[in-house]
Amino acid sequence: MATLHIDGNPYEADPRQNMLQVSLTHGFDLPYFCWHPALGSVGACRQCAVRQYRNEDDQQGQIVMACMVPAAEGTRISIQDEEAREFRKSIVEWLMINHPHDCPVCDEGGECHLQDMTVMTGHAYRRFRFRKRTFTNQDLGPFINHEMNRCIQCYRCVRYYKDYAGGRDLDAFASHNHVYFGRSEDGVLENEFSGNLVEVCPTGVFTDKTLKGHYTRKWDLQSAPSVCAHCGLGCNTLPGARYGGVRRILNRYHHDINGYFLCDRGRYAYESVNRPERIRHPLLHEDAHDTDTHSKPEFCSVDHALKRARDRLHSARRVIGIGSPRASLESNYALRALVGEDHFHNGLPAAESHLVNVALDILRHGPAKAASLREIEEADAVLILGEDLTQTAPRMALAVRQSIMRAPEETARALGVPAWNDRAVRDVIQTDRGPLYIAAADETRLDDAATSVVYRAPEDLARFGFAIARAVHGDAPPVDDLPEEDAAVAQRAAEALANAKRPVIISGTSLGNESLLRAAANIAWALLRREKPAALAWVVPEANTFGAGLMGGRPLREAYQAVSSGAADTAIILENDLFRRTHDVDVERFLQSLKSVIAIDSLRNRTTDRAHVVLPAGTFAESDGTFVNNETRAQRFFQVLAPEEDVLESWRWLGHLESGTAPSEEPRWKELDDVLAAMARDLPELAGARDAAPAADFLKNGSKFPRSPRRFSGRTAMLAHRDVSEPKPPVDSDSPLTFSMEGSVTIPPAELVSHYWSPGWNSVQALNKFQEEVGGANRGGAPGVRLIEPEKATHSFFTDIPAAFTRSDQKYLVLGLHHIFGSEELSRHAPALAERIPEPYVAIGEADATARGVNEGDEIVLRILGRQHKLRARIRTRLPQGVLGVPAGFPGLTGLVFPADGHW
């Protein structure tokens, strides 16, 4: 800690920071534009001017940029200095001479950092009488709106997009006061993290295009802390809702996971909540299994639907429950409680269920800890084994991209260049990058950042991994007959990992190969044996995959067997489209043999179309619940809006089903906390989930926390068309949040933060006030509870090394290739995101394509498990011979369990 002086008063500060950061942490309102906690300082905007004094006797001092001054011991600055204030005011005045008269029609208005800073500096009237410079805009695709006139040339956008996110198609053009930020020509911004420009840009140049379609100001968005439901990482989000729909997603800072940034799937998938294909009322379909009658399901009242469902349950021989990795822990548990442990299924195909268990067991019984995204960002050597991260766990790819800066940063530090001094650090390290080794089946979007990439079939990737483990530690099993080329790369990777201070090994389930997980574990354990604090990061596909795994249900296959053997005749299917999980034929047979199918889901799908009773489930936005992410962190998400129709959380429906036959009878679960308490008793491993957020009776000064911002408008008119007397706001018995603007005005615990706002700080940068120190930990600790921590004991190495992949002339090994846009079930329904989904295709390696005389775009009929797929060929240079790839989760290709055998 260093002691330094701001406006004559002493303060303690971390000497590794700069004076802007320190001033903000201590609550000073010092305006700034170009500095960003995640991007560092470049001193470009000249907005954060202060006067610095050499020592106590120096009365003169000089104007400097606070963001470029290290917080060294004894530093003295003055923020209040008259000249410094004038300087800051004149900077805003300059920025404003060309600024358009746009605030009322600007989507940034009301949450604009430029507005805030203008008010903060006191600039009010435009004295400049001449004409304004103007720009034309570009069409940047479905996610981002461009309004270049509003630019203040702070360079944050290109620094984020190119330097931080590795994008290539956004740049600064032209010179002097003509500098233009855009693409070289109109077109979709290619980077998968482009949506963050909305929050990075301090003005209204880059705004959320999906929000524009149903524009609402920040002060009118009812909001609650939520967790992204569209991949296994559990990034924290802040969805905003108005008039019964979700209108946008903002990033919610989680120091250990997503930090300041989300991926575009997470930001834009929300539109699926507002779709017409949502199920909003119960449906009855008595002839659901009679394919000849073509009867249609019919809407009915809640009471009637519950009665019919209960009748069906009571007359059943045996009821089985099928849970889901996209449903919350609470909903899965409520189902398990309803049908009994022995009849509860986790909703996963056997192969995937097994993989998930292998991954969990490695964390449970092994010495390696699960790495958080922040630990990946801080890692100084990373190995990715068999994942195309950008497609399977996008935000993790962004974290990996930062990790390659860690090792070279040491060089800069040795020269005395602090890490926040972004331009200087980049000048020192030039093109030097830290070790990143990738072993993948096909090209990945991170290849450009990698030290080396090997492209192999899954078995060979696993063998490559085992070889690294062996090279790290001699007790690990050797790999016979590894090609020399692979052995050499394995050796180099092993050295890089062993030389690192904080190595991380990443692998996952997307290639469907358990040896990959074992190989990754071996490497981490080998490093641990050499006293390196290695961590493992798993990639799992869905928001609650690990939750479903920890719940301990049986795989789908056993559900199918229970029915085909005649043991069970009724199934409750919870938020699960079985046609996406297993082969059509199996699902058909299963459904056909059931006397009753009760489905609970939010969006219509092929499974709900075949159910006798469908109950409308809340999406993430209308439910309270808990997801367990890839590091086994249980995190709570809260209702953003109270559903108006018959929509209920799935666990509530299950509670209603479990109560007696009379509709008026009390449901089994009255509140979320009841479910959590029962789950903690039944499943001790999940007990931590109860503490993932404060319970519903948590109060601050006797109040709950408001979901609506303080200046929420239209309260007495929004619903006046229905009734001029406004209704009582919905009561929330499940959480310490209210559906109103009233409640505690203090900063809540991080799990309950519904918006970032502070007097004078209306933009997202109000976040500064919600952190222990600016850019640092969430106030009161990062949300969530990790359910599994590593065992101290060492674990003996896995020795089951797979045989090398051998090509066969009769068949190809077909892999499921994942896509950030298209492979996840729910996000496919979001219109803007759907525009980015590629056409289904079959990926063919160059050698195979030449051998079979196939050209790019040719139509190919691929047979997998007796099903024929007509697909266009995409020739891939890196895909190994004998291996094909098809996009996972795409229509027509669902229900395939990869890897599969394919014929063509």
Binding site: P100, P104, G110, T134, H178, Y180, K212, W219, S713, V724
Partner: protein, 170 residues
């Protein structure tokens, strides 16, 4: 004593004054143009809707009786798809008019809004939008804003230079 007589005299004198009570509703009181009565939404000189759905009136309203929802035409011009004022809550403070950056929302000298049924005090956009400019003539917000809308491209607003060419260094 003297003061009492004075008062009596004053009262007596008033008997011969001109009467101020008027026979409403046959006769109407004069209300100044700036009188804060019924609220209207006006149009700009070109006949376009002035309101740009910026939500400033709604947020300024101390009783929260304005609710609107924005929409956009195919050329990017924003307008309120829904605009509702609950006059049973309005206190005619005029904050909405002061907050409005486009002169769209105006309080006009009309006070005859009484209803037997409170529900009828809820006015939708069709009840609010008039065909003229109201009290403020000549202002057209989109002519000064930098945003391009149908009929006005970039650099065509008042006080604007034509758009620069980002591919040129000069």
């Amino acid at each position: 004593m003297i003061s009492m007589l004075k008062t009596l005299w004053l009262v007596f004198k008033h008997a011969f004054h001109k009467r101020v009570t008027i026979q409403y509703p046959e006769e109407k009181a004069y209300l100044a143009p700036r009188y804060r009565g019924r609220i209207i939404l006006s149009r700009d000189p070109d006949g376009g809707e002035r309101c740009v759905a910026c939500y400033l009136c709604a947020v300024a309203c101390p009783v929260d009786c304005i609710a609107l929802d924005s929409a956009e035409d195919e050329h990017g011009r924003r307008y309120p798809g829904m605009f509702r004022i609950n006059f049973s809550r309005c206190i005619y403070c005029g904050f909405c008019e002061e907050a409005c950056p486009t002169y769209a929302i105006q309080l006009v000298p009309d006070v005859e809004m009484a209803e037997y049924n409170r529900q009828n005090m809820v006015y939708e956009k069709e009840h609010l939008l008039i065909d003229g400019q109201g009290k403020y003539h000549g202002y057209n917000y989109y002519k000064v804003a930098g945003l391009a809308i149908g009929g006005k491209g970039k650099g065509e607003a008042e006080n604007e230079d034509p758009p620069i060419d980002p591919k040129s260094l000069m």
